[in-house]
Symmetry: C2
Subunit: 401 residues, 2 copies
Amino acid sequence: MGSHMGSHPGSGRRRFLTSGGALAAFVMGAVRSLRGQTAAPPPYEPQGLLAYGQPSKFTGHILRRTTQRPTAITDTALMTPLHELDGIITPSGLHFLMDHTNGIPDIDPQKHRLMVHGMVDRPLIFTVEDIKRFPSVSRIHFLECNANSRPLRGPNRESVQLIHGRTSCSEWTWIIAEGGESNKYTMSIPLAKGLDDVIVAWAQNGEPIRPHQGFPLRLIVPGFEAIRAVKWLNRIHVVDKPYAAWHEAGNNADTAADGKGMWFRFELGPKAVITRPSGGQKLPGPGFYEITGLAWTGGGLVRRVDISTDGGKTYQEAQLQQPVLRYAHTRFRFPWRWKGEECVIQARCTDERGEVQPTIEEAAKIFNTTVDYFYQADHFNGIQPWRIARDGSVTNAIAGA
Amino acid sequence: MGSHMGSHPGSGRRRFLTSGGALAAFVMGAVRSLRGQTAAPPPYEPQGLLAYGQPSKFTGHILRRTTQRPTAITDTALMTPLHELDGIITPSGLHFLMDHTNGIPDIDPQKHRLMVHGMVDRPLIFTVEDIKRFPSVSRIHFLECNANSRPLRGPNRESVQLIHGRTSCSEWTWIIAEGGESNKYTMSIPLAKGLDDVIVAWAQNGEPIRPHQGFPLRLIVPGFEAIRAVKWLNRIHVVDKPYAAWHEAGNNADTAADGKGMWFRFELGPKAVITRPSGGQKLPGPGFYEITGLAWTGGGLVRRVDISTDGGKTYQEAQLQQPVLRYAHTRFRFPWRWKGEECVIQARCTDERGEVQPTIEEAAKIFNTTVDYFYQADHFNGIQPWRIARDGSVTNAIAGA
């Protein structure tokens, strides 16, 4: 990258935002859209599936699903069919979704505005096109709901979709505002500096974010629970303290059964989930199988995934799909020959912090609580084993389930 | 990865395929599907957009489009709207598509079979579920039609979609059959060894490949022209010579205007395309813009992209979006302040082979032909500049256009 724009070393945060006001005024004057202005439409245009393709009618069973027995907490969840998917990208149409019962707005992006206020001389108001003119970056990141992996008992415990399907992974595009890189742009894009601690995204898997995921603008906080990823973003309150501190404070309000604060709620813990074979599936007979699934961590990189096919007595390292990306789902694979015996398979994730995914019993011991606590706890990342019966059927084998 | 399966060092290709016959017979006996067998449907299921999401109605203009003036060659092309997209993943519904005029089959995967014959003791026949049971890998790769970037004159020359939209990039999942890795599986999956030179894919961007892209099985040849990526794959003829040799021979049939063979047709050359600002768009006024686009090469990795804003007199290096992936689209970005003058912007790709994308004049000189030759040539990878007028309008500025 050339340095022809120069840096602006003497400027503090407030000064950037002051400058930002002037730029914003200019940018807001840019009423004509850079995008969407192609040449006049061609004489004929493709229609329907030729214009925008859809899945085969033979894969119509691959859908987001709700819990089997709705509760106050979980009846608003639409979960990703992880057992039907490959690779690490979740198709946008199958991205998990919470809190849809009040309806999904389909906002006109021409009318949408983002207000930035708080620690600024005066509020800044941006159109979606203004936002899209700033330098940008695209990264593959997962989102995970704080309530994921919770229904380990009852009618929702039998499939990987219903237990673990509140996580998905997409390529997000957003305003660039990252450490050293932002210096290159400070002369011209002070907004990026002003938004140093938040990520304003407008594209998911290449195209504009879909309405269910927050069209036209969404906040993204890599590695943190998805409830922080505000959809249909229209207001940012800039405050004079680290965003992480606010986040941490909010989470520390949660306490364990013994009254202690749960430190592991600050970021999502390491988690590995076997998606195939998984609950509700049936192995057709003894022979070769690839055990595969997804691992992720709020700590950044997945370092390794180990597989046990004997209920946790012994583990062997699985292969991680390359490249392993920070705050992204990581696909793991493990070749396995099933001899037809009853057995329990499970996966265990270790992340770059050295944190090892615990069993549910280990988690209870570490946090001085009971196993029962985790059946309703947020951010549960305990190992969830699958039992394979002699007839090949697969069921949830977690302790006490 | 553990070595518990052992290797099979003494076995040759033919022996693997013989063993493969026995395995295939077993695998074919596995009539029950591992996938698609979730628990009984929950009491209620989401419908419509809640079950499978779609784009906003406000982005309905983001579609595949055909050429404005159809010809015998190009009237079957449905091109990707590169100027409307971000990141490197092309949404599956917008993946480019050729030769659709005979209709798109939506094949029942339960009835589909893949036959492998030729250098095998007897033909092997696999179901789609058989294929999916083999060890697999997912990678992000582009496809590009040999005819891409050709309509540099006439009514199709004015937008990046109509000129360059015959390329897209997806995460593909396929049978693993790669060099050293395959040894780990040779005891149990000789088919992979037998298919060492071809890639049989079944998933694209996480979900099953869509009908327009070859559901249920497609051949993928990373870095080679997309016409080799056979859709709805049902037959593989195993031959006793390198696949690349056959491919090369086929391409060497093409000759330049002076009768010489065109060596650069063996693999796709390095190419960078500015997608924004691009033809048909209009800059609303002087100020900051991010010049962005996509680069790729049949040679593997994009090493660098340089941007000129003065018609090629001087270049400065653009930033490459990380991670840069082999045989994948690579997003580049370059911050730029437009002062309102008329100017020509262009991008130039250099790949890991050291091959530098030529201007159209350089290409003509190198290959001892005329500039006119390239207006109908396959595999054209010359630099295609955009002219920005004082009113901000953007048009194709290629020589002689």
